[in-house]
Structure formats: structure tokens, C-alpha cells
Symmetry: C2
Subunit: 405 residues, 2 copies
């Protein structure tokens, strides 16, 4: 049984966090540097973007967590430290400065950056801010850290849960930065998760890699896969449960908690996509296999035309069929049913691949809600999938038409 | 030598065209039905969308041109006749009514539709308009036909050229409907081309299928592959050249003319993409193979973030690198150079995968132009590719947020 609690990344025993304004961003007040610290070294697992153009921090983090352990996470917003000649050097310097300040090895630091690509990242504001960042560390620092990693996000993304493993109460929390340049192609945003559950680095990595297939890999805001995506989990073992070293009841309980955290953050990221006014959830059922169900869900959630129609609260189901048709999935169009649903009810718009009469008024009422489900029944098997996205709005264009300046 | 002339689809000998307002669209004056007629049966070649959800007219057209010949093209706008239970019946009825009016077999009619998906197409306005459509046929009817197939297009798309095959002067013309739901995945819009060059149906199909790989398949407006795309060529042979039945000098001359027509229409379609303020041309050089060059060009032209940056005249080259990185192409990022160019000059923004200092003022001046080149040098081989697209604007969102109503 997974129960939601407060505290974000500081909910689990032995984790503190902080966030400060270091001056990396032009904005004078927005926090742009975040820190998470475990009081003891923790098992660490990460997944990274599949983009060939990778942020320098990812290279450095990969090397640091190769041994399966880490103790701190530092992340700046406002600059991605990507496509810069001295990127790796700056990311390493960040880790060594933080390591010195905390009295831990630089190689136990996970480092991440998010923001504009291709502008040199100056170490000076980071160096100057580290003392304040470290002294701000607190059990109540999750909110500040969540703010520190935000870019064009409009809301903080934070959750914590409580669960039981082998009779011991464990806690897990997460923060995320989402917004634009988000696409389902292997880890798609910055997400930092902490837990006091004891689990081996191998099982932690296995659990994370498996979970993201159905969570962060099923979120799209705009079809652009970022260069700097990373999802990282630190598990410090302070809950005192017997270490999870294999599949079984304990691992299942851990995975359930992890999935609660990641699905919550997926929905938050999608619903707060750049310029979004609505969260879209595309639920596909009846796929002949899992890949078919996933391919269909992703294609619909990524369609600019479906997204624009949802912005306009227009029940333009033909665009849903169209996006299924070009998805590359092997479906029988003549079997497909489609409905739109929200808190205001459900309206069936397509049956056996063709339109059915429906009340435009009712459909409008349903689609004016802030959370919309696009329900697709392939009627061709037993497999299901869910993908998350958002509508396409004027505001997305405005934000991205002038992001650097 | 290919020379541009006037006359559109009526430039070639023996072709007449017309366009009328039949009342399929709500708009009371916009032409919504177009006809092209050859005075004799012509060799016919078509390519179709790869979307599994296919407009009913495509099914009917495919059957009609299977024997390699056709004599007339009829196309309505305002309704795609797709995902309708009686779609094929309506498309066949359209052909038989037109065939009767023209005194030709229904099976010699190419039929196409474009507009909203999933709303039944009423035959009545088409039936009522066919007499007027036929009596309006004229040598100067290309403009009216080009208008009849427009949906949210803001400009007519029309071209004609003159070329020589075996000492005989031949002519070729084309009209196109572009706008939204356009994506490079095998024929991506409605294009009708006519020529009086004599060429066998087999060589015509071969030529068309080969040409579109580097033309219509390299255009993207919004990443959505339409259900109703079709490119069709009628070649009636009235120029009197010896029939082209194999590769050689004559076929090369024909292909050069065809490519002039198709590239012109690609640029027109991309530049008039829904809501577009700019034509984007992404030119990739130095690819280790053709597929790499094409994949990179398509990925960049499809990126919502690159498109939004171009709308804002923002030299955000990091997004170009990012789109190359997630394209799936096997490139060496550290070798990549990027420049932006327009009528106002060229500015290099990235060298060896990292940023170079450039004048933001100069870049802004270049990017404020209506035609922008994104120049990508992979420096890894000899292969080249070009893709066409447009910027992403408020207007795209406005149009598509409320298209049906």
C-alpha cells in the first residue's frame, strides 16, 4: 500500500536539500542552483537521454555513478552546459567544489544542468554560491531544490510516498523539471528521486530502467528529445529493511512506490508542458501486442494537430485516427473505437473506424476541462498503454520563439 | 534546359481545367471543386500517403489507374471523405457522374478529396455542380482549378515549364494544395501534374516514385502525415516526341522538368504551411551516406523548437544540434558546423559541434527574412540532402485549434 506524504526529496530518512539563486540566470531572484545530500553514501541509478548530443554533466555523472554509489546531487538551471568546448571541465569543477564544501569525494556527486544549449557556463556564480547552498541544506529544503531546477516550468513538481518493505516503513520522494524539449525517447527530463529503502545498486538500476519504459518514456510535450535528460535515484538504506538484492515481494513493493512517484511526476510534467492549458492522457487498450499499444499512444500524444484541437476543445477525432494511421503500428483501422473523457463525462466519437453521431455540445463541455483522456480501443488483443502530453498553444510558440533572449 | 512558362496545368497541349464553388464548404464563395481534363487518354502515375487510414478517394483512384491510364482528375476541398462508412461509394459515384458528363469511362477518372476527416461527404452538391464544372473547362482554367483544391492555403500554387525531348518542345504544369497535416512520409499533399510529353506508364511511375523521394517526401509542415495525400501525373503524349520507354537522354530531360515542377511546389507548400511566416530550407552536406543526410535534414526541419526559434528570428543553434542528435542518424557531433543564411547574408554559429562567437545583430537581420537556409555541414562524407519546412507560429495554433467549426 503506497501512501502519499509530504516532504518531497527530504521525506526519506537522512536526506536534506536546498536551492539558492546563484546568478546563472538573468532573472535576479529565481533560484537556479539546487542540492540534495544523503547523510551517507547511497546506492545510485541513472538513466540518460538517447540524444547523441549530450550535455557535459551527463558524461561526468555517468563516470561518477559507474560504481553504483553517490551521495549528493547538484543541478543548475539557466544553462545546459551542452555543446561547449570546456563543458566537461566545468561539470567536473562543479563536483570538486561541492565535494570540498561537503567533505565528500567529487566522484560521489551527481551533476546536472538544464537551460540554453551552446552558451559557455561560467563556474564563478556556482563557486560563489556553493557555501550558501550547503549552509541552506535542511530537512525542509525540497521545495527550494524543486524551484532551483525549474526553467520555464510554471509549477513546482514534487511528491513523496510511504510504503512498506519487509515490515519496515520506507519513504521515497522526487522532484522534477519538465516543460519543453520533452519527448519519449529514453528518459526525458530532469528527475531526482530519493529513498531510504535499502536496495542494491543493481536492483535499483534494474527497477529504474524498467519503470521508465512505461512512465517517463511515455511523456511528450513537443517531440524534441533534450540533450540533458536524466532521471536519478539515490537509495541510502536508512529505513533498515533487509537489502533488496533480487526480485520478489520486497522488490514489487519498491517498484509500486517508484511507479507512484514517477507517474505523478509524468502527469505533472505533461500538464505543465510549455504553454500547456491541459493535461492529455492517451489510454490505449486492446493492442495485439505491447509495442502496438505504446506506438499508438505515443503517436496520438505527439500529433501537433491533435494537440491543437484539444487546445481548441474541438472533438476532431479524425486527427486521432490519422495519427494512429501514420504511427507505424500494425492496426486494423476498421476495429478502432475512440472516445474523449474528462471529469464532465465520456463521449464516443468513432466506432469501427468511422464516425458516430455525438453531441457537439457535450463534447465541448468535456474538452473544456483541464484534464482530458483520449481513449482508444484497438479491439485486437489484450495489451494496454498510457502516454501523457499536453495541448499546443499560442503560449508554447511565444515561449519558444524567444527563449534565449 | 527547363524554362518557366505560364498556364499551370493547362500549359501542356490538350489539357483544360476548371474550378467552381459547389457548396461543399460552408464558405459561400470559395471554389471547392476542381477538374482537369486531357483531350485524350493519358499515361497516369500516382503516389499515395503511407498512412494506414486512407481517404476513400485513394482506394478508388488506385483501382482506376492500375491499368496505367486516366483522362480526368476531379478533386473537392472542404471534406476529406475519410473514415466514412459510405466513402468508397461516394468517390465512385463522383467518378461515374463525371464520366457521364464528359462521355468517358468512370474508370478513367482520378478522384481526390481534402478537408475534414470523418464527416460524411454529401454527393448532392457535387452532382449539382458537375454541369457547371464541365462547361467551365478552359485553356485558362488552371488558376480556377488551383483555387478549387485549396483548404487553409493562403496562396495558389501553380507552375508550368517548357523542355525539349528528342527535339520536340514539351510542356509540363502542376498545381498543389498544401498547408497543414504535411509530413515527409511518402507523398504528402495533393499535387496534380500534367504534361504533353509522351512517356510510357511504367517510366512515368518510375520517374514520379523516384523524384518524390527527394522532393515531396522532404517537406514537413507539422509532422502529421495526412490520410489523403496523393501526387498524380497525367502524360497525354500530344507533344509528339518518341515515347520514352527506358532510361536515357530523353528520360533525363523529362526528370529534370519534373524536378523543376516538384521542387517549386515543395517550396510553395512549405512556405505556405499553416500559419507560416517563413520558408525554411535545411541543406545538409558532407553526410557519410544519403540516408544520414536525409535523416538529419528531416529531423531539423521537423523540430518544433527549431521552428519556433525561426518564428522568433532567434539564432538558437543549440536546438539544431539537439535535433541532429536525436534524429537517429549516425553522425559525429564533434565534426558538425552550422550556419544560418538568407538574402541578408550568412552567419556561422557552430563549428566542430560547439558554439562560435557571432554577431547577434547580424543573425537577427538574417533571420528576419522570409526565406531562411539552415546549413549543416556534417564533414563526414560526400552525401547531400535538402528538406523544406516552415516556422511554427501563433497562427498555426489558431487555425488548428478550431478547424472543424
Amino acid at each position: 500500500m503506497v501512501k502519499t506524504i509530504i516532504g518531497g526529496v527530504c521525506a526519506a530518512k537522512g536526506f536534506k536539500a536546498s536551492g539558492v539563486h546563484a546568478g546563472i540566470r538573468k532573472n535576479r531572484t529565481k533560484k537556479d542552483l539546487a542540492l540534495i545530500l544523503s547523510e551517507k553514501k547511497a546506492a545510485a541509478a541513472c538513466v540518460y537521454t538517447t540524444n547523441l548530443v549530450k550535455g557535459a554533466p551527463l558524461t561526468v555523472t555517468k563516470a561518477h555513478v559507474q560504481n553504483g554509489y553517490a551521495q549528493a546531487v547538484i543541478c543548475n538551471s539557466g544553462n545546459a552546459n551542452t555543446c561547449n568546448a570546456n563543458g566537461v571541465e566545468i561539470a567536473e569543477k562543479t563536483c570538486s567544489l561541492l565535494g570540498e564544501a561537503l567533505g565528500i569525494p567529487a566522484s560521489d556527486v551527481v551533476v546536472a544542468s538544464t537551460g540554453v544549449i551552446g552558451q559557455p557556463l561560467d563556474i564563478t556564480p556556482i563557486q560563489n554560491a556553493i557555501p550558501a547552498l550547503v549552509s541552506a541544506l535542511s530537512d525542509e529544503g525540497s521545495e527550494a531544490a524543486a524551484e532551483g531546477i525549474m526553467t520555464t516550468d510554471t509549477v513546482r513538481k514534487e511528491i513523496a510516498v510511504e510504503f512498506t518493505v519487509g515490515g519496515k516503513v520506507c519513504k521515497m520522494g522526487g522532484i522534477a523539471k519538465g516543460s519543453g524539449m520533452i519527448h519519449p525517447n529514453m528518459a526525458t527530463m530532469l528527475v531526482f528521486i530519493t529513498t531510504d529503502c535499502k536496495i542494491s545498486p543493481e536492483m535499483l538500476q534494474k527497477g529504474l530502467s524498467s519503470d521508465i519504459e512505461n512512465t517517463f518514456n511515455m511523456v511528450s510535450v513537443d517531440g524534441d528529445t533534450s540533450t540533458n535528460d536524466m532521471v536519478s535515484v539515490l537509495a541510502n538504506g536508512l529505513a533498515g529493511n533487509e537489502e533488496i538484492v533480487e526480485e520478489g515481494e520486497d522488490f514489487t513493493a519498491f517498484m509500486e512506490a517508484l511507479n507512484t512517484v514517477t507517474v505523478f511526476l509524468c502527469r505533472k510534467i505533461a500538464g505543465d508542458g510549455e504553454g500547456a492549458t491541459k493535461l492529455l492522457e492517451c489510454k490505449v487498450e486492446g493492442g495485439r501486442d505491447l509495442i502496438t499499444a505504446k506506438t499508438v499512444a505515443k503517436s496520438v500524444i505527439c500529433s501537433s494537430l491533435v494537440k491543437a484541437a484539444m487546445f481548441g476543445a474541438d472533438a476532431n477525432w479524425g486527427r486521432v485516427l490519422c495519427a494512429i494511421g501514420y504511427s507505424g503500428a500494425d492496426v486494423d483501422v476498421s476495429k478502432i473505437d475512440v472516445s474523449f473523457a474528462s471529469a464532465k463525462g465520456t463521449v464516443e466519437v468513432c466506432k469501427n473506424g468511422a464516425g458516430v453521431a455525438f453531441s457537439e455540445e457535450k463534447a465541448k463541455e468535456i474538452l473544456l476541462e483541464p484534464e482530458i483522456d483520449v481513449l482508444i480501443y484497438l479491439n485486437d488483443g489484450e495489451e494496454k498503454s498510457v502516454a501523457w502530453g499536453c495541448d499546443l498553444t499560442y503560449e508554447y510558440v511565444r515561449i519558444n520563439g524567444d527563449y534565449r533572449t
